[in-house]
Symmetry: C2
Subunit: 485 residues, 2 copies
């Protein structure tokens, strides 16, 4: 790992070669769990220093940053649990059927690491989606070396974190060279094109992600690229819900779309409300006005341009005009106009801006729903009397997470979590948050008629990981002589 | 479904619209299992007629074609079992933790159909990788409408099969319009670019697959594309194995590389043997010489060109010269020359040609292994005295299936099977054969705090599918009052 700023030519020193890849993939699951916990412990220990550096660089409040470090280390420990449990390997054993009409060989399938992963850090999460964030944690858990491209918005935080990660991995006995950091725009491009890089993971803008995805797909040897890109996160408020508690919903929305100065990929950017809603009436008075510092100058400038773009669309009313960069903005537009101008109105504006789309009756609501692009999340606020089945079904085709009576900001890191959605939210059928994020960095291998000593322990007959044997799922080791659990 | 040859403008009539997609994704797992079994039964019933048509079109022997129909219907029935079992849904339930420092919502994840799948048929399997083949079966099983692009090499077989599939689906109560057939080169291109198509699956050449993959990735809304492309399927014979039974290995190789006139994606195209091997000495006498009809004129012409290309490489000896299209060819080259000219010598020649690579000692063997590209399979012939761990590990990075003491032709359709490998074998981390082929046509959705009646039955607390609950895998329904299984 080179802590200095490598230019393009330095990438050759950071991207691992064949020996390092082999050393990493040959490590055991308990070893990798130990690395992840060691990194988590080291980051927790250094949290005061890390938060101080990050606060200086990003302007984010220290309370939020302490929370993010905890989220990051909790995530590392979850992946340690996932690796130790072993279900992620999808171990599958089909014993031979030698005397059948069509004899069948012994087949044993599991998932193996895909190789070296290039991780592109996000601007808005200097810890949780950065150097030691979810992409790095899940790649290391999978058995893949990692090269992180630091985000320029928090270079010092990135370098400091990388030093801690490198030292912790070394002390935990991990192979040298399995983790590296590069910086700079050109280095990022060279990385996805490097012949020894085997997959990419990115969190950021649609434009940036698309450019990298195109390069990944255009290589002589194309590689998988997992982009978490832009998201508009629609919220639908039914007439009954607005009628029952529209003002409370307005308070919830005000908190959600301004949280973190709106700089979350899960910020609700479009809210469908009935005409004359209590929510729309209450919202302007509940939003704290005034500018807040944004993560970078580029983001601040893009926010100003984005809000101007929204305000300039025909039929859009400015309910709450922004007062400079980082200042909340609320717009309103009728459902028909929204549907007609959806290409502009559903383009993500990163920052505290949201658009209220007013619908008059079921047909207008349907027209607005039809105009929604793919998103990470979609939210329904309804009541027990609403028939929401059809709406929920429709939204499930347009989002990876469908929420009820909540707000999309906040992504719990758990076994079931899914953070992904149809294009342009992501370019993948996999998640970047939660236990199954490992699957991005794994590929299947099946062994046919392998001598038992050449099989990994997880695929032998005395395997202890969850596995499918001759078609039947076995949740844990069958302990013949012990009472069933 | 239009049984005539639609030109480009007809695609609009075949690609399903929103209503059909919704109707298909809302069907239940038992319904979809019933469709698959109905299609299997109808194909079995029509097998005499289907085999007769296919034999005329492809020149393949009827015995082989009857076997392929059986494989196809067995595959449809396996996917019915997979759908009914439900483990493929990856159902995951995390109950809420409301009173924690960081309260956690109720999260319930499963996999949902990705939408309409474009299936591109293969030349060499008029049934098993064609209209009602594995891609179609797994897409229907997943809950996706299917549009098949027929292979021009067996248009009548494709149309006949499509009529049977359409009628069987209709009689089984499947939504109208969920299955269609298109024909023609231009129709195939328009299909992958159609805005209502959501994924592609292809079996064929690297060039054809790459062209479609590039179009899928270059769309305004990129879609996943799963290509099963070219494969060289290396075989490594150790000195000890050659010494112990080189002549028997020669007989096995002769059968394998000429099976089906070598027109299998799993044909062994490169065989690493020790210098002066018994295998190489015995092989020429064991190969039945003479031309055999190939699947199409294009394939026959490409075979002649491919064998000429191999023969023209410096240092390559012609052990058995081909006698026209479809006639077996064996070449020999030293390991060092092979490594130097690997770009040409590892390009798939579709047909009964194979290259013996002779190595003198461990270093030359390593050089040859280092030059191998990604493949669907890699095979080791060794003895109990050989230390094969390192070789097996290396080959597992270059192939999706690692075989011991067998031959790669023949792909059992089972739960554990994996038919995929690093580029250029495939462009995906998923399989096109075996139970997990469904995963290509699914995407995750998580429900947050959903009212129970809005959840699919598989995600409710009384779910009966295999699932992970609060981190622990539950292989089947917990039957509290019954004795544990």
């Amino acid at each position: 790992m080179s802590p200095a700023r490598p230019d393009v030519t330095d990438i050759a020193d950071v991207v691992p070669g064949r020996e390092v890849k082999a050393a990493v993939r040959r490590t055991t699951r308990p070893e990798r769990a130990r690395w992840l916990r060691a990194v988590a412990d080291a980051l927790d220990e250094a949290r005061d220093e890390l938060v101080a550096v990050a606060a200086r660089e990003t302007g984010l409040p220290t309370g939020r940053l302490y929370g993010e470090v905890a989220r990051t280390t909790g995530q590392l420990r979850l992946f340690a649990d996932v690796v130790l449990e072993g279900g992620y390997l999808e171990a599958t054993i089909d014993h031979a059927v030698r005397d059948a009409t069509q004899p069948r060989p012994d087949l044993r399938r599991w998932l193996v690491p895909v190789g070296t992963v290039a991780v592109y850090s996000a601007s808005n999460f200097p810890f949780a989606f950065s150097v030691a964030g979810g992409d790095t944690a899940s790649a290391l858990a999978a058995g893949c070396p990692v090269v992180v491209k630091a985000h320029p918005g928090h270079g010092s935080t990135s370098r400091r974190t990388a030093r801690i990660v490198t030292a912790a991995l070394h002390d935990a006995g991990a192979p040298d060279g399995l983790f590296g950091l590069v910086e700079g725009f050109e280095a990022g491009i060279s990385l996805i094109e490097h012949p020894d890089v085997d997959a990419g993971a990115f969190t950021g803008s649609v434009r940036g992600g698309r450019a990298l995805a195109d390069r990944a797909a255009g290589r002589t040897r194309p590689i998988p690229f997992y982009g978490e890109l832009g998201s508009i996160n629609p919220v639908v408020v039914t007439e009954a819900a607005d009628d029952a508690h529209g003002a409370a919903l307005a308070a919830g929305l005000a908190s959600s779309f301004t949280l973190g100065v709106g700089q979350f990929c899960t910020k609700p950017g479009v809210v469908l409300v009935p005409t004359g809603s209590k929510l729309a009436a209450a919202l302007p008075g509940l939003v704290e006005p005034g500018a807040m510092p944004m993560l970078t100058d580029t983001i601040a400038a893009a926010y100003v341009a984005g809000t101007r773009r929204l305000a300039g669309v025909e039929g859009v009313a400015e309910v709450l005009a922004p007062d400079g960069p980082g200042s909340p903005a609320v717009y309103s537009v009728g459902a028909e106009r929204f549907a007609a101008a959806a290409d502009v109105l559903t383009e993500e504006v990163f920052g505290p801006a949201t658009v209220l789309v007013t619908y008059d009756g079921a047909d207008e609501l349907q027209a607005a729903v039809d105009a929604l692009p793919g998103s990470l999340t979609a939210t329904i606020h309804g009541t027990a009397d609403d028939d929401l089945a059809d709406l929920a079904d429709q939204l499930s085709t347009r989002a990876g997470r469908v929420l009820f009576d909540g707000w999309p900001t906040g992504v719990a890191v758990t076994w079931a979590q899914h953070h992904g959605g149809p294009w342009p939210a992501t370019n993948t059928q996999h998640t970047s948050v939660g236990a199954t994020a490992l699957r991005r960095f794994l590929r299947p291998v099946v062994y046919q008629d392998a001598p038992e000593h050449l099989l990994p322990p997880e695929l032998r007959d005395d395997s202890t990981v969850p596995r499918r044997v001759d078609g039947a799922l076995v949740a844990r080791k069958q302990l013949g002589s012990l009472p069933a659990p």
